[in-house]
């Protein structure tokens, strides 16, 4: 997981302290296990995951209404 730079960006905090979190937390086994394959998916194929703010159409639309 750590090989994915996008993952790292937001999670570096979590992992900075060493002890790997991913496996350990898998309380909801299904959910966690399922997420493993995602690391293999190239970043381009993940449209919005693990990203913060983006000035999307939705956001621009919101700004427009706030100007009224």
């Amino acid at each position: 997981m750590a090989s994915n730079p996008i993952d790292l960006k937001r999670r570096k905090f979590l992992f900075s302290a060493g002890a790997g979190g991913a496996g350990a937390v898998a309380a909801v086994a299904g959910g966690r296990v399922l997420l493993q394959p995602e690391a293999a998916v190239p970043a381009a194929k993940i449209p919005i995951a693990d990203r913060g703010y983006q000035a999307t159409e939705h956001v621009r639309n919101y700004y427009r209404t706030a100007r009224v």
């Binding site: 999670r11 905090f13 979590l14 909801v28 995951a49 703010y53 919101y62 706030a66």
Partner: protein
């Protein structure tokens, strides 16, 4: 990178509590936890003003500064998030936060102040975006969806603004100019004047942090 900010325009806020329920809707926070609230000043007399308040995602966040386990972190956009797995429920962030943002389930019961809960700017938490754990612990993650906090998006009079600090400021500036004569702005300036007018450098720093 854009710095996320909230701004409540007290000239527009009508204390309809839309932001409060929008938050509950998006994040399914339980009864007793209010990540956002609306406070009305001078209630019922001329000069009445209302302000919606939640975690402001401070640049120099007091919660972060006092947390004994260091469970807070800033995202790249300046959103203050925390890790509930680490939170020990000590209440220090609640003492430190001027806005009363931190909330605790079952607060008040002996020794078991639960894990702190607060506004996430609809940005979830440290778990993978949209994971079930993230939702359970922190609620929705709209930022990752290319959206903004629902409270601001749904504000009935667009009083509560959220988003890129520069754009939010520009929107507010437009309104202020429209209101004309600086009538309402005068008060804003005075208030900040009393606190010591903030030097431009700080403003700039904040914008980029």
């Amino acid at each position: 990178m854009a710095r996320m900010k909230f701004l409540c325009d007290s000239e527009r806020c009508i204390s309809c509590n839309g932001c409060v329920t929008a938050c509950k809707n998006e994040n399914e926070v339980p009864w007793g936890i209010n990540r956002r609230r609306v406070v009305t000043l001078s209630d019922g007399v001329p000069g009445e003003k209302s302000i919606s308040v939640a975690c402001m995602h401070c640049s120099d966040a007091p919660c972060m500064a006092v947390c004994p386990v260091d469970c807070f972190y800033h995202t790249d956009e300046g959103v203050v998030l925390h890790d509930k797995d680490m939170c020990i429920g000590c209440g220090y962030c609640f003492y430190a936060c001027p806005f009363g943002a931190p909330q605790y389930p079952q607060m008040g019961t002996f020794g078991v102040r639960g894990k702190m809960d607060k506004c996430t700017f609809c940005a979830g938490g440290p778990e993978p975006d949209h994971s079930e754990e993230e939702f359970k612990k922190y609620g929705g993650n709209r930022l990752a969806d290319g959206k903004l906090p629902l409270c601001a998006e749904m504000c009935s009079t667009k009083a509560l603004l959220a988003g890129d600090g520069d754009i939010v400021a520009e929107i507010f500036r437009g309104r202020a100019l429209n209101r004309g004569k600086g009538a309402d702005l005068w008060g804003w300036g005075t208030a900040y004047g009393k606190e010591g007018v903030k030097p431009k450098s700080d403003k700039a720093k904040e914008g980029t942090s």
